[in-house]
């Protein structure tokens, strides 16, 4: 049923730590997967230019759920500038690799994060 996933990926899939609604989020990013039609929703709380809290909800495959979880794990505590520099390769590396057909699921995680940051920055500056 599942493609050859790594142990690390399966761990994040089975027990994702960041599934939650962030209280009064400062930025929300929701993106859809053009490849397969799935949806990722990510929320951040920003304090002193740092991502203080982060949570996700995902309608998608095991790789998408694991990617969402890992993107949250990496981004938490980072400055917005650092968070913007996270790439899909960082996610894939943290998951110990990913089947090629599933790489788009990790891209989704990055897109959701960037969108949430943009949402925050847009809101802060008062333009959108």
């Amino acid at each position: 049923m599942t493609p050859p996933y790594t142990k690390k990926l399966l761990k994040h899939f089975k027990n994702p730590k960041f599934v939650k609604d962030v209280k009064n989020p400062d930025g929300i990013g929701e993106v859809g997967n053009v490849a397969c039609g799935d949806i990722m929703h990510l929320e951040i709380k920003v304090k002193d230019n740092k991502i203080e809290d982060i949570g996700f909800k995902t309608f998608g495959c095991a790789a998408a759920i694991a990617s969402s979880d890992v993107v949250c794990e990496i981004a938490k505590g980072k400055t917005l500038e650092q968070a913007k520099k996270i790439t899909k390769d960082d996610i894939i590396k943290k998951l110990g690799g990913m089947p090629p057909i599933k790489v788009h699921c990790s891209v989704l995680g990055i897109q959701a994060l960037k969108k949430a940051i943009k949402d925050y920055e847009g809101g802060k500056k008062g333009n959108c």
């Binding site: 049923m1 399966l10 799935d38 909800k57 995902t58 309608f59 495959c61 998408a64 788009h104």
Partner: protein, 388 residues
């Protein structure tokens, strides 16, 4: 961990009795059925005995049975073989939107060879419309090809009614019965079948063996040329051990009596228990036929707001093996064409789970699956952004 295999529409475990029947044909009776000597004749006898068993199970004559390498080859041989023996006088093929990929892709390829193909719609339970079928037949139509029991949603088409229309309008009727064979009685006379695709590995026989039944008198062009095996329609040394195994699996399933066997009754009960209990979970929808006309081993359900590959992944984590029509689990990242044809939205297709049981599935296994599944759906709905 306990392993519970519920993907029997993909393939089945080979029955022990089948393995036992096959074994002598690897080292003791390994002859080539075309050889005239004694070793060869042993194989020839086994081949013809097997042919007889399979012919009888569908009410056919022995010489109408052609052994192939499986369902895919039989479907290819039927459609390409008919097309090339009729073209250019006739070039039209009618099939449906819910066929197995090997029929659809054969038809698509034939379109590049000047074939005209009509893909019939189905209703929301997956049944073809007999009216649309009637209206689609032209004087260029060679064959109507309709899958009997659907591999994804379990819907069983009315062969007799379709066969009657084909006979009246003087076009050939081919059906792929890979999923329904030995589960639903099939009779080439009563159902007016002209060509039938059968295979072994869905009925606890070995992989790599199938049959194409071709009604006597129908001309088809062979795809493989060589030593003239199988009445010149399928050259290549026969896979005797596989063929013996196939025949044994048919024999065990007891279709020869033409009655619903104990295994089928038991599977039907387990199927209905699974369907009933799963539909008790909130926001679920049964895909495929609601009534009697459903394969006794097929369950296909969409669980709103959760993705099928993720459900399967969690089930696998509990040792349970299933399948899904979700785009995420397909090699092409496309949702199932069958679910699309019965009107499911991409999100609904992505939320589907197929459970296909077998005669080996037990009550305890079903209880265990239901218990796990309920928890998994709760967990995944917690993860889902679509649940608000």
């Amino acid at each position: 961990m306990k392993q519970i295999y519920l993907d029997n529409a993909a393939t089945t475990k080979v029955d022990e009795q089948v393995i036992k029947a096959m074994l002598p044909y690897f080292d003791e009776k390994f002859g080539n059925a075309s050889s005239v000597h004694l070793v060869g004749q042993d194989s020839k006898n086994a081949l013809e005995k097997s042919r007889k068993i399979i012919a009888k199970s569908i009410g056919a004559k022995t010489r109408e049975i052609i052994f192939t390498s499986g369902g895919t080859e039989s479907n290819n041989l039927a459609l390409k073989g008919l097309f090339f023996s009729n073209y250019p006088n006739k070039n039209h093929i009618i099939t449906t939107k819910v066929e197995h990929d090997c029929v659809l892709n054969t038809c698509k390829w034939l379109e590049t060879q000047s074939a005209e193909v009509t893909y019939l719609d189905v209703d929301e339970e997956g049944f073809v419309s007999l009216e649309q079928l009637k209206n689609s037949i032209t004087d260029k139509t060679i064959v109507v090809s309709v899958i009997h029991g659907n591999n994804e949603i379990g819907t069983i088409q009315d062969l007799e009614a379709i066969g009657k229309i084909c006979r009246e309008r003087n076009v050939l009727f081919h059906t792929d019965v890979c999923q329904s064979f030995t589960k639903v009685p099939i009779n080439v006379q009563k159902d007016n079948l002209d060509l039938v695709t059968l295979n072994s590995h869905k009925i606890h026989g070995p992989k790599g063996v199938g049959v194409l039944y071709i009604r006597e008198g129908i001309k088809i062009t062979p795809l493989s040329h060589g030593g003239g095996h199988e009445r010149n329609l399928r050259s290549g040394t026969e896979n005797i051990s596989g063929i013996v195994g196939f025949a044994k699996s048919v024999e065990i399933s007891n279709t020869l009596k033409g009655t619903r066997t104990k295994d089928i009754e038991r599977m039907t009960k387990l199927r209905d228990k699974l369907i009933k209990s799963i539909l008790e979970i909130q926001d679920t929808k049964l895909n495929g036929s609601n009534g009697e006309k459903r394969l006794c081993n097929n369950i296909n359900v969409s669980f709103s707001n959760v993705e099928g590959e993720a459900i399967g992944g969690y089930l696998e984590n509990s040792g349970i093996y299933t399948s899904t029509g979700s785009a995420c689990a397909s090699h092409s990242l496309e949702t199932s064409h069958v679910l699309k044809a019965i009107g499911l939205s991409p999100v609904q297709s992505n939320s589907s789970l197929r459970i296909s049981i077998s005669k080996f599935t037990t009550d305890e296994e079903v209880d265990y699956v239901l218990e796990k599944l309920k928890k998994i759906i709760i967990k995944l709905r917690r993860i889902s952004p679509l649940v608000r």
